[in-house]
C-alpha cells in the first residue's frame, strides 16, 4: 500500500517589539517572574488594550516578503477560554479577517529543485503567560511576563508531503523572519514555535483526518514528531482503525506523540470582534513605506550571490539560508577576500565547528573580521593554508587574534630564499640515493623532498618556493 502524507504548519513567531502588543510593558525575555506585566497584561478590571503599531508594521513586512495579499481592513477578535495563564479569559487574536492574506514561499528540496508552498494567512495575536507545573508540589505557578507578547501566527497551506519538506519550510520561514528583522528566531526561548497538522491518505484518495501536534520548538523535533505521527497514523489505518481528530503533544524525552485533547473536548472559543479595539486600517502610504524599507530578501540575495559573485546555486542557497551567515560571509568579502575561498571557509571550517559545538553563528567565537584576517594571512603568504587550519582551531578555542597566534607560535611562513636554500641543500646532501633515483626519472620522489622540507621547517616553508628551489637543485 502506498501512503501519502499531507502536512501543514502553524508557526508562532514572536515579534521583536520593545513593548507588548496591547500594553506598554517590556517584552524582554528572562526577567524575574511577573515583573514585566502591567495592569493591562494582568487583566485588571477596567483596563483596555491599545494596539502597538510596531507589531502591525512587522506583520506587514512579513506579508510583503511573501508576496501576500494585505487586508487593508482587519479585525481583532476575542478567543474565549479559561486558563490561569490567560488573564482576561480571552486571547485577543484575529479570526475572520487577518492582516495578512495568502502568499507563497519557495523551499529547496533534496533534489535541488524548489517547491512553492502556499501561506494561507498570517495574523497578529497576543501570547499567553506560562504555567509552570513542576515548581511546587500542590500548585501550578503562573508567570505572566510573556502574557501580551506579540505573535505573528503564520499558517501554511497543507502543501508539505513529508517531514523533510516541513522542516525545509519551517527553516525558510525561520530565516525570513530574521531577514526582515521581525523575530529573533530563538527557538529555545520560544520565540519561534511550530504546530504541525499531519494526516495520511492512500494514494489518490481525499484528505485523511488530521492530528495537530502542538508546540514543537526545534527543527529536529519537528522532523521526529512528524515521522512518528505519520507512522502512528499508517499503523492505525493499516490495522483497519481510524485516526481521531485531536490535538497531540510531542514528548521529546520519550520520543512519542500523545493525545492532549480530542475534538469533542475542544473548546468552543466563541470568537467575536473585540469591541475594545477599532479595525486595523492600512493605507497605501504606509504599505509603500514598509515596502521601501524592506531589506534584501533571501531569494534576492541568493540570486545576487549567483549572478554577481559567481557562486554556485548550492553555495548561494547554503550561504543565504540564514541571515546571520549571509551577513557574516558578506562582511568577509566586503573587506576584499576572495569569494570562493571565503565561501569555503564559512561553509567548511566555520560551519563544521559551529555545528559540532551547537553554537549559533551570531555567537561565533571567531568574528567575521577575524576570519577575514586569517584568510588574508594566507593570501599575503604569511602562513600556508594548512597552517591556517591550525590557527583557526586555536582562534576558536582561545579567542585570540590571528596575528597574535601566528607571532606567539612562530608560524610565519619561511619566505627567506637563502634560509630555505640552506635547509634544502642539507636535505639533498643527506639523501643522495634519492637524488640519484630522481635524476634517473623517478620524479614521484619530489613529494618525498617536499615532505622532508616541510618536516624540517615545521610546515612553515612556502610550498611554491620549495618546489621551485627543489626543481632548480635537482635538475
Amino acid at each position: 500500500m502506498t501512503w501519502e502524507t499531507v502536512i501543514g504548519l502553524e508557526i508562532h513567531s514572536q515579534l521583536k517589539t520593545k513593548s507588548k502588543i496591547f500594553s506598554g510593558a517590556s517584552t524582554e525575555f528572562g526577567a524575574k517572574a511577573n515583573t514585566q506585566a502591567c495592569a493591562v497584561d494582568l487583566g485588571f478590571p477596567g483596563v483596555l488594550p491599545v494596539l502597538n503599531k510596531e507589531a502591525v508594521r512587522m506583520a506587514l513586512r512579513f506579508g510583503l516578503a511573501v508576496n501576500a495579499t494585505i487586508n487593508k481592513h482587519s479585525i481583532f477578535a476575542r478567543k474565549n477560554y479559561f486558563y490561569p495563564d490567560l488573564p482576561k479569559g480571552y486571547q485577543i487574536s484575529q479570526f475572520e479577517i487577518p492582516i495578512v492574506g495568502s502568499g507563497t514561499i519557495d523551499i529547496p528540496l533534496d533534489s535541488g529543485e524548489n517547491k512553492k508552498v502556499g501561506i494561507t494567512r498570517a495574523h497578529l495575536e497576543e501570547d499567553a503567560g506560562k504555567s509552570i507545573h513542576d515548581l511546587y508540589d500542590d500548585f501550578t505557578a503562573i508567570d505572566l511576563n510573556r502574557a501580551g507578547t506579540p505573535l505573528l501566527e503564520i499558517v501554511s497551506d497543507p502543501d508539505m508531503s513529508n517531514a523533510k519538506e516541513a522542516v525545509a519550510y519551517a527553516k525558510k520561514i525561520h530565516a525570513l523572519v530574521q531577514y526582515i528583522d521581525i523575530c529573533d528566531g530563538n527557538m529555545q526561548e520560544g520565540s519561534f514555535r511550530c504546530d504541525a497538522n499531519v494526516s495520511v491518505r492512500r494514494k489518490g484518495e481525499g484528505l485523511g483526518t488530521r492530528a495537530e501536534i502542538k508546540n514543537i520548538n526545534s527543527f529536529k523535533f519537528l522532523e521526529k514528531a512528524i515521522n512518528l505521527e505519520v507512522e502512528r497514523q499508517i499503523d492505525i489505518l493499516e490495522d483497519g482503525g481510524s485516526v481521531a481528530q485531536e490535538t497531540r503533544l510531542y514528548d521529546s524525552i520519550k520520543n512519542e506523540t500523545r493525545s492532549m485533547r480530542s475534538k469533542e473536548e475542544a473548546n468552543d472559543y466563541r470568537y467575536f470582534p473585540d469591541p475594545d479595539l477599532l479595525p486595523v486600517v492600512i493605507d497605501d502610504e504606509l504599505l509603500k513605506n514598509i515596502k521601501n524599507g524592506l531589506p534584501e530578501l533571501p531569494t534576492e540575495k541568493k540570486a545576487r550571490f549567483i549572478d554577481t559573485l559567481g557562486l554556485s546555486e548550492y553555495d548561494a542557497e547554503n550561504l543565504t539560508s540564514q541571515k546571520a551567515m549571509a551577513d557574516y560571509f558578506e562582511i568577509i568579502i566586503d573587506k576584499g577576500a576572495d569569494v570562493k575561498v571565503s565561501a569555503n571557509w564559512v561553509m567548511g571550517e566555520l560551519a563544521a565547528s559551529l555545528n559540532k559545538n551547537q553554537i549559533d553563528i551570531k555567537d561565533s567565537p571567531i568574528s567575521a573580521s577575524e576570519l577575514y584576517k586569517l584568510i588574508s594571512r594566507v593570501t599575503d603568504n604569511t602562513i600556508s593554508g594548512k597552517i591556517a587550519k591550525d590557527v583557526f582551531k586555536i582562534m576558536w578555542n582561545e579567542k585570540r587574534s590571528v596575528d597574535e597566534i601566528i607571532k606567539d607560535q612562530g608560524l610565519e611562513q619561511m619566505t627567506d630564499v637563502g634560509a630555505l636554500e640552506s635547509v634544502i641543500d642539507e636535505i639533498i646532501s643527506k639523501n643522495l640515493d634519492q637524488v640519484e633515483q630522481f635524476k634517473n626519472g623517478n620524479t614521484k620522489l619530489l613529494g618525498f623532498f617536499v615532505g622532508q622540507v616541510m618536516k624540517a621547517t615545521q610546515g612553515k616553508a612556502n610550498p611554491k618556493q620549495v618546489n621551485q628551489i627543489l626543481n632548480d637543485r635537482l635538475s
Binding site: A39, L42, G43, F44, P45, G46, V47, L48, P49, V50, L51, R78, N80, F82, P84, P87, K88, G89, Y90, T140, I142, D268, R270, Y271, F272, P275, D276, L277, L278
Partner: protein
C-alpha cells in the same frame, strides 16, 4: 443651605471664601453618614478631607482650577487607586484597585474631592439597584421605591443632596433612568466622548460614563472635566471637545423637536405621558417646533440589546476567575472547582443570567442567528435615528415607561428589562441622551428624555438649560430633606 447649591454656585462660594472645601466636604460627609438611602458602598472620609485640605491650599495659593475643592461621589465602577472598587459585586468586595481610571486622574488633576463610591447594580446590570451585593438603594422621594439603576446610588445621592454631583455610567439607560426616577439631571454623552479606561466593563461597545447633577448647567461644567480623547482607550474619540457651557444660553426659537410615535404607544404610563407632553408644550412656548418622527426599529431595541450586551459581558467578565484578585472560593479542589465555585459564589443571579445568555449566543452554530443578526438590527436602529435627524434637531420622549416602582415588585427579569425600553436604542446607536426633571406623577419625579445626534451634547445641554430657566422641577427636593 449649602447642599442645595448647584456646582456653579459652589464654585462661586469657594472663590468668594464663603466656605472652604474642607467645610463643604465635612458638611457632605455628615449628610452621607446620616443618610438612610444606602447610596454609598464606601465613604472615603479620610481621603476626602485630605483632598479638601489640599484643594484649600491650592485655592489659597491661587493655583486652582474651576472644579478645585468640589466634592463628588464616584460610581463604584471606576477604579480608584488604593480604594475598594467593587462594581456592586461580591466578586470584587475585597478588590482594592492598584490603579486609577483616566477619569479619576482627570478629577485629581483638578484637585476635586471624592466623598466615596456609590452603590450600583452588580457590574451595572439592572434597572432598580436591587442587584447590588450591598443591598438596594432607596429612592429619596419614597423609601419604599427603587431609585432606578444601575447608577441608582449616584442618582439617589444627588437627589438627596448628599453630594453636589456624582458620576454614572450608562450602557442601556443606567444614567438616564435613575436620573428620571430620582428627579435629577443626567447626560450620557456620545459613545467615545469620555474615556472608558478604568471603568469596569459591562458591554464595551455600549458603556459610556457621564455626569449626574442637579442642573444642566452643572452637567455642562462637569462634562468639561470628564470629556476628551484618551490614548489608553482605543474607542475614545479624538474629536475636539468644546466648552459645553458656551451655548447654554442660546435661544431655542425655531428648534425642531421630534417626537417618535413609537415612544408614545401602549405601555407608557398615563401620568408619565402627561408630564412629558406638558414639558413639550413648554418648549413650544419657547419657540420650538414639534414634529412627529418614526423610529420603526426601536421596537427591536430590547432583544437586540439583550444579545449584544450579554455577549460582550460574557467575555468581559471572564477575567473574574478567582485566580489573581477578587473572590476565590474556599479550598478549591482543582482548577475547574476553583473556576466553578468562585464564579458561582462571587456573581449574583442577574450577572450569571447575562453571562449565560451571552455565552450561548456566541457559541458555535448560534453566532450568526444571534450575535450577527443583532449587529444587523443595531445598524437598522442607527439608521432610523440618522433618518430622523435629517428633519429634527432633538428627539424628545419619556425616559422610563413609569415612575419609580416598589422595591421587590418586579420579579420577572423580562419585565425589568422593559424599564429601559426608551433608553436602549440610544446606546445601540451610540448617541447622546439626557434626562431632565420634567414634573411629577403621583408625587414621584418624571424625567424628560432628550436625544441628540452624534456629538450634539452642546445642543442637548442648551435645550435642557433653557427648560430649567423656565421651570423649577430640578430644584424640587424630597420633603424630608
Amino acid at each position: 443651605m449649602m447642599h442645595n447649591l448647584s456646582i456653579a454656585e459652589l464654585i462661586k462660594g469657594l472663590k468668594n471664601k464663603d466656605f472652604s472645601s474642607v467645610e463643604l466636604t465635612q458638611h457632605y460627609l455628615k449628610r452621607i453618614n446620616e443618610s438612610k438611602l444606602n447610596a454609598f458602598i464606601s465613604v472615603t472620609d479620610d481621603l476626602a478631607l485630605s483632598q479638601a485640605n489640599e484643594a484649600d491650599l491650592k485655592i489659597a495659593k491661587g493655583d486652582s482650577t474651576l472644579l478645585t475643592g468640589i466634592p463628588y461621589a464616584h460610581k463604584d465602577i471606576f477604579c480608584t487607586k488604593g480604594v475598594k472598587t467593587s462594581a456592586g459585586s461580591k466578586m470584587l468586595d475585597s478588590f482594592i484597585s492598584p490603579y486609577d481610571a483616566t477619569l479619576n486622574h482627570k478629577f485629581n488633576l483638578e484637585n476635586m474631592v471624592m466623598l466615596g463610591k456609590t452603590n450600583m447594580d452588580e457590574f451595572a446590570m439592572g434597572s432598580s439597584n436591587e442587584n447590588s451585593y450591598y443591598g438596594p438603594v432607596k429612592n429619596p422621594w419614597d423609601l419604599k421605591k427603587v431609585p432606578g439603576g444601575s447608577s441608582g446610588g449616584s442618582a439617589a445621592a444627588v437627589a438627596s443632596r448628599i453630594t453636589p454631583f456624582a458620576t454614572g455610567t450608562d450602557t442601556g439607560g443606567s444614567i438616564r433612568q435613575p436620573a428620571s426616577l430620582c428627579g435629577i439631571t443626567g447626560i450620557k454623552p456620545t459613545y467615545g466622548r469620555i474615556s472608558r479606561y478604568g471603568m469596569i466593563a459591562y458591554a464595551s461597545s455600549l458603556d459610556q460614563a457621564g455626569p449626574m447633577t442637579q442642573t444642566a448647567e452643572d452637567a455642562a461644567i462637569v462634562l468639561n472635566a470628564m470629556a476628551g480623547f484618551d490614548s489608553k482607550d482605543s474607542t475614545s474619540a479624538s474629536k475636539e471637545t468644546p466648552d459645553y457651557t458656551k451655548k447654554l444660553t442660546n435661544s431655542l426659537d425655531g428648534l425642531l423637536i421630534g417626537l417618535p410615535k413609537e415612544f408614545f404607544s401602549s405601555g407608557l404610563d398615563d401620568g408619565v405621558e402627561k408630564v412629558v407632553m406638558q414639558a413639550i408644550k413648554e418648549y413650544e412656548a419657547m419657540g420650538a417646533k414639534i414634529k412627529e418622527v418614526s423610529l420603526p426599529n426601536s421596537m427591536h431595541a430590547i432583544p437586540t440589546y439583550y444579545i449584544v450586551a450579554p455577549c460582550e459581558c460574557s467575555s468581559n467578565l471572564s477575567r473574574f476567575d478567582g485566580v489573581r484578585y477578587g473572590y476565590r472560593c474556599e479550598d478549591p479542589k482543582d482548577l475547574d472547582d476553583l473556576y466553578l465555585r468562585s464564579r458561582s459564589e462571587g456573581f449574583g443571579k442577574e450577572v450569571k443570567r447575562r453571562i449565560m445568555i451571552g455565552a450561548y449566543a456566541l457559541s458555535a452554530g448560534y453566532y450568526d442567528a444571534y450575535y450577527l443578526k443583532a449587529q444587523k438590527v443595531r445598524q437598522l436602529i442607527s439608521e432610523d435615528f440618522k433618518k430622523a435627524f435629517q428633519s429634527v434637531d432633538v428627539i424628545m420622549g419619556p425616559v422610563s415607561p413609569s415612575t419609580a416602582f416598589d422595591l421587590g415588585s418586579v420579579k420577572d427579569p423580562v419585565s425589568m428589562y422593559l424599564a429601559d425600553i426608551y433608553t436602549l436604542s440610544v446606546n445601540l446607536a451610540g448617541l447622546p441622551g439626557m434626562s431632565i426633571p420634567a414634573g411629577f406623577s403621583k408625587n414621584l419625579p418624571v424625567g424628560l428624555q432628550l436625544i441628540g445626534n452624534h456629538w450634539s451634547e452642546e445642543l442637548l445641554l442648551n435645550t435642557a438649560h433653557q427648560f430649567q430657566l423656565k421651570t423649577d422641577w430640578h430644584k424640587s427636593t424630597p420633603i424630608e430633606l
